[in-house]
Amino acid sequence: MNSIIALLLIQDGLTMGAVYALLALVLVMVFSVTRVILVAQGELVSYGALTMASLQAGHLPGTALIAVAGGVIAAAMELWAYARGPRSRTHLVAAALYVLVPLAVFGLVAALAPQGSGAFVRVLLTLLIVVPLGPILYRVAFQPLASAPVLVLLIVAVALHFVLTGLGLIAFGAEGVRVAPLIDGMLRFGPYFLSAQALFTIAITLALIAALFVFFGSTLSGKALRATAFNEVGARLVGISTTGSGLLAFSLAALIGTVSGILIGSFATIYYDTGFIIGLKGFVAAILGGLGSYPLAAFGAVLVGLLESGSSFFASAFKDVLVFALIIPILMWRSFSAGHAEEEEE
């Protein structure tokens, strides 16, 4: 291996690691706020990539329709809650939002998609289509189970992963897609090449992490999320809506999943079921951070990315064996250095 290949591998590893880091941060956040291990995060990534690619091809993405259908179910659940009383106006407002927002987006996309538009507009449309799925999924799948044990929430998350994978197959078919990179070209330093899109991905990731940092550190909503994560009952007592926190956490998860999908789609071919393994690697990174520490999760993500690109060069058939097997010693180190095991109530 020479230094050119080494640089390529490191560049690959860092780029993928950056995306895993984003996913890991979201998983940590969603878990600490809602106790849901969001296995379906990966599907939001592939939906982001597939929607973007579909828009680039001038089609109307099926995800727009999925959002409308999900919104209708969420609205029906809100109306049902209203009918069973307390007849709070919040239910009606929420029901209206769940129906109208995806419908409006659908109309907009249907009008704009065939005309062909700029990259910026397409990114915006992709976000408008996929991000509302976050709160819709929370409302439909998890809100009725807010007090359930972690294991039940995990099973529901896995079931949701199946639902979204199946819907992805119906909406986009079995063919893989590549997203055209947002930025083309190579930067050249002597014999070394750096891909502009890779640098762009890392830059966007850093910017998003910084934005999350500001959001959690300095905004009221961010602080409310942290409060919910720290102590759910306490948060409720001081007037923070834990449902609201859950919805917000899932919206952020969808936002970051979509961005990751748009970015990652230009490095790897994305199929309707690719999201799972991508999400899993983000999950691995999150666990390396103990599902609680953001910086460690980000560090774990970069480690996973480098491990993956390194082993794909040295033993490509055994790439995933190596990635997942090498995790066990790291896990053990994390577990033992974490010290005392907390006991979870049944």
Binding site: I37, A141, P144, L145, A148, L151, V152, L154, I155, V156, V158, A159, L160, H161, F162, V163, T165, G166, L167, L169, I170, L280, F283, V284, I287, L291, A317, F318, D320, V321, F324, A325, I327, I328, L331, M332, R334, S335, F336, A338, A341, E342, E343, E344, E345, E346
Partner: protein, 587 residues
């Protein structure tokens, strides 16, 4: 005959008749239900009862299947000879993996199961010697007593005999000394350790048991379809076993069979409907499958089996034999002999000195109280004495033997038994069984004797001892109700009965009067008084002055980690330092 036994008999009769009367197609479904039940049973034991979430069950099914596939095709072994080979391979892998990963805490464990099951999957898929992704074909059929089991009908019997044996093994295990300890692994392991249970060893044991059930399922699968490839042993299938367990009822043995039945049939029906109505297959049924699971869990979170059993009359209570032998008892120290010494005990948390040079002695037949305001370090002291936390300095000895640096399990063996400030009973277990756990280390029959039911004599002795302790504390009438249904005051008394069941020399009570009503406190005081009269030595950490003052022989008062006074209650009550600590300074 009770409704429960009737249901069981009907199920067994239906099972025996099914292969004769059902069309071949349904017999095949029944076979897959059996295979799923066997693997899911392992998940019920491991996850539902032991609290260890595993996504890796399918990998052990794969080990069983591949072992027999390789041994029967490459070496020409008989399937019956390959079965123990596969079981051995699975047990060895489970031991190795378990030794490494089962000590992982919290969410590390489920993740590690994903990690190693994915690794195994990709490994097998890339190993040419195991046929890589194409797998191994041409497995021989199993024959039994000269009958070749090469069709779905005859194989059905073999599968269900295995399932029933598996169910029996787990059923027997759970109704035993080891089973009670296993049921306390989930969320109660600190308590279990305090009664001498080696929780790490038990975790490995149920992991191995679950792996054996899975490997048996794999062996059956391999000889049913007569070829193997990696797909049925991937992570998705591991997740599906977890689904089956959760849908059926994750803490229930019957949940394994019901869950497997529902999921196998559901998948089949959905495939059928999707193919017939829509003309396509693959996507719609996955969506419907996921939706149904979400709807089911939103409406019956505990699974199907508890949904049904809630409506049945309660199961028969455990029978306590009248003629049970008594358990061995330790020699009791003479009244007045020193049983517990704390010598300048220190515990630091970083810069905070939570317990600072606390010394006292406890004599046999005496009640010593440790009191102090909130934050005085009483609970930390309690945790030091019971071995939950290590000492930073000083020494503790029990009956003249040094107890420094011992685990809570070893300290329990020295003759210390404790209760918990936050009641640590297994709420879904009967009061009798909760108390029987206390006698865990006075008996020794292990998992194998439990499965083979060679432990009945000792089990009878354990239950009789538990009943005796319940009579001693006056709760014998409540022995068959779930411990969680008792009032808090009674639960604290059950904790004392459980501690007494371990035949202790010293009883450590952590705030036993907290949350009790007035007459419950009186009853508790009367109980402790009578125990003292019988020669028991009691150390009581308390908060409630009135309760302590009228009960104890001597007192140690703590404030900010230091002892500020000690002596008989009357003297301590008038000590200026104590008045200052409690009343905020001399006025």
């Amino acid at each position: 005959m009770t409704i429960r036994t009737t249901l069981l008999v009907v199920f067994l009769l239906a099972l025996a008749a099914a292969p004769f009367v059902l069309p071949e197609y349904y017999v095949t479904l029944l076979n897959y239900i059996g295979l799923g039940s066997l693997a899911t049973l392992g998940i019920v034991l491991l996850t539902g009862i032991g609290g260890l979430t595993s996504f890796g069950q399918a990998a052990f099914v794969g080990i069983g299947a591949y072992a027999t596939a390789y041994a029967t095709t490459a070496w020409g072994f008989s399937p019956w000879f390959a079965l123990p080979l596969g079981l051995f391979a699975a047990a060895a892998c489970a031991l190795a993996i378990g030794a490494v990963t089962l000590r992982l805490s919290g969410h590390y464990l489920p993740l590690s199961t994903i990690a190693w099951s994915l690794s195994l999957y990709y490994l097998v898929g890339n190993l040419p010697v195991l046929g890589a992704h194409d797998g191994i074909t041409g497995l021989p059929a199993v024959s039994l007593f000269g009958v070749v089991l090469d069709d779905a009908r005859s194989f059905s019997f073999l599968i269900w005999i295995f399932v029933l044996l598996g169910l029996l093994s787990v059923h027997n295990l759970l109704g035993s000394r080891a089973g009670r300890a296993i049921r306390c692994l989930r969320g109660r392991s600190t308590m279990a350790e305090a009664f001498g249970v080696d929780t790490t060893r038990l975790k490995v044991a149920i992991f191995v048991h679950a792996a054996l059930l899975a490997a048996a399922s794999g062996w059956l699968y391999a000889h049913l379809v007569r070829f193997v490839n990696p797909t049925p042993f991937g992570l998705n299938v591991g997740i599906e076993y977890l689904f089956m367990a959760v849908v059926g009822g994750v803490g229930q043995l019957a949940g394994a069979v019901v869950g497997a039945g529902v999921m196998v049939v559901l998948r089949d029906v959905l495939q059928d409907v999707a193919a017939r109505v829509l003309g396509v297959s693959g996507a719609i049924e996955i969506v419907a499958y996921g939706v149904l699971i979400i709807v089911l869990l939103q409406n019956a979170r505990a699974g199907i089996v508890p949904f049904v059993t809630r409506r049945l009359p309660a199961p028969e209570p455990l029978k306590v034999p009248d003629d049970a032998p008594s358990l061995p008892m330790r020699d009791r120290p003479a009244r007045g002999e020193t049983v517990l010494v704390a010598d300048k005990v220190v515990r630091r948390f970083g810069g905070l000195v939570a317990v600072n040079e606390v010394s006292f002695t406890l004599k046999a037949g005496e009640i010593l109280g440790v009191i102090g305001p909130n934050g005085a370090g009483k609970s930390t002291l309690f945790n030091l004495l019971s071995g939950v936390l290590p000492l930073t300095g000083g020494a503790i000895s029990v009956l003249g033997r040094a107890a420094n640096g011992l685990t809570s399990r070893a300290i329990a063996r020295l003759g210390l038994a404790r209760t918990f400030q936050h009641v640590q009973l297994r709420g879904d277990m009967s009061v009798l069984e909760n108390v029987a756990l206390g006698a865990h280390m006075r008996s020794r029959k292990g998992i194998l004797s439990a499965i083979l039911r060679l432990d009945r004599k000792e089990e009878g002795a354990l239950l009789a001892e538990a009943l005796r302790q319940l009579e001693r504390v006056g709760l014998a009438d409540s022995r068959n109700v779930p411990a969680g249904s008792l009032a808090l005051g009674q639960q604290r008394i059950v904790e004392i009965a459980r501690a007494l069941a371990s035949d202790p020399v010293v009883l450590l009570l952590d705030e036993p009067a907290a949350g009790l009503r007035y007459h419950e406190k009186q009853a508790l005081a009367a109980l402790l008084d009578s125990l003292r009269a019988e020669g028991m030595s009691i150390l009581i950490v308390e908060h409630d002055m009135d309760f302590v003052m009228n009960l104890v022989d001597r007192l140690v008062v703590m404030e900010f980690g230091r002892p500020i006074a000690s002596g008989v209650p009357g003297a301590v009550q008038n000590d200026p330092a104590v008045l200052e600590a409690y009343l905020g300074g001399a006025v």
